[in-house]
């Protein structure tokens, strides 16, 4: 479903991402883990076709993110770090607008919006202006926006940052429910989130992949131990990387 090969992003001399590779199969929730500034957002932006990679390649849902970016855009739902809301629109108006630009047929618009509202439990705020929503609701509208066109791949960039514990639990529940139909990439720096929600973990440090593993393969080691080990290691050679990563598509 997602195949990332040696993705590099440079800004002048500074390499934000230097050679990230991993893959994800259908129905997986991949936890994209790393300290702040590790290159998570940059990698995710490249996968979401927002930024062009300097080199390397990636396919999402079988389409190249550079050469077939339009096909990729049709098949992804993307929640950036800050939910991309228009404050002056109501939740309903906003979701209708997103449904339109995502190419949903006019006859299906109302249904698509209703489904997204239901899945993200937004019924209570449907007619509120986006600028009056609490952070938790903003984040949920952001997720509703990402799933409205039923995409094959959903990319969420730190969807639980800045939320209170109750909201975090709600959002995690929502994300878990997505796995039935979608492949999800979830970027975060919260470790328990990964153990609770994800089936696979990719740890990234200083722009490089430090570990790719199924969560179940970590064995007796806790995620925390593994993470600390990966992040403190200089140069981070991918010792934990599972050998079959490149082969599994």
């Amino acid at each position: 479903m997602i195949e990332v090969k040696n993705l590099v992003k440079r800004y002048g001399d500074y390499a934000a991402v230097s050679g990230v590779s991993f893959s994800a199969t259908k129905g997986e929730i991949v936890g994209f883990l790393g300290p702040n500034g590790a290159g998570k957002t940059t990698t995710i932006r490249m996968l979401a076709t927002y930024l062009p990679p300097t080199s390397g390649s990636a396919t999402v849902a079988g389409f190249d993110i550079v050469k077939q970016s339009d096909e990729v855009r049709r098949r992804i739902g993307y929640l950036p770090e800050t939910p991309p809301l228009y404050g002056e629109m109501t939740v309903n108006e906003y979701l209708l607008f997103v449904a339109r630009i995502k190419g949903i047929a006019t006859s299906d618009l109302a249904r698509a919006v209703s489904v997204a509202v239901e899945r993200c439990v937004l019924g209570d705020v449907r007619n509120k202006l986006c600028q009056h929503l609490s952070r938790g609701y903003r984040q949920r509208v952001g997720i509703a926006q990402a799933i409205i066109h039923d995409p094959e791949v959903i990319i969420l960039d730190e969807p639980t940052s800045g939320l209170d514990p109750k909201q975090i639990i709600d959002i995690r529940q929502t994300i878990k429910s997505l796995a039935e139909r979608h492949t999800v990439i979830l970027s975060t720096h919260i470790l328990p989130e990964v153990s609770m929600v994800c089936s696979k973990v990719v740890i990234i440090n200083r722009g490089k992949v430090a570990l790719v593993s199924q969560l179940s393969d970590l064995g007796t080691q806790s995620l925390e131990q593994v993470f600390i080990e990966c992040v403190s290691r200089e140069g981070s050679t991918a010792a934990f990387e599972e050998p079959s990563v490149a082969a599994s598509a």
């Binding site: 979401a48 629109m89 607008f97």
Partner: protein
Amino acid sequence: MRNIMAICRREVLSFFVSPIAYVVITGFVLLAGYFFFNLLSIFSVMFVRFQAMASFNPGAEGPNLNQWVVEPFYFTLVIILVFMIPVLTMRLLAEERKRGTFELLITSPLSVTEIVLGKFLGVGVVLFVMCGLCFAFPLLLVYFGQPGPELLPVLSGWFGLFLCSLAFASIALAVSAFTENQVVAAVSGMVALLLLYVIHSPAEALEGTSATVLKALSPVLQMQDLVRGVVTLQSVAYFALLIVLGIFLSQRAIDAQRFR
């Protein structure tokens, strides 16, 4: 087309729920009304003078409304547009970038051209309302003038004004596409439009081709025929080209920041 309309609808909605559209439209109409009043006062003074002199000079042509009111009125509106339009266009792209919604647009299955066209049409709607309201002033002359102004120049002049406003909006949009800062977008838009507005000034001192080129580039001179009731292919093509150029530049500027 559907995508363009979706962007345009959102843009219009956002203009009319924020105070920007109301402030700009009200300001524009207020200024227009004041200038109209001035022109009409001057006209009536001229007219009274003419009538007093008429007995000495039988058969002389008196001042007419077209020449004394309608034409200068439209030209004055063009100057006001130079300052108003950048205020309308400054937020179109800068605001999207600032609040992160640009990421939504770019990662949606839309082409950059569709985004730009949608936004341009959105401003077009606001400009139509703005120029449309100002049409009330010459219309007053048509209804109450004894004799009223010639109708054709009133209509074609308005058409020229609207075309000119669209061309200005397109240029200002292109200028704003290069920055993320709204103030920078507005100021550089005003500078660009003002430069375009006075571009023919050096033509007086120059000769030959350069003078001809500068004159041909001037929106004011291109409007002259339209305001006088002559719709020429040249002037319509001029404004159409400006519109296309602005949209093209905006598209290139945004595209340079992303990839295919």
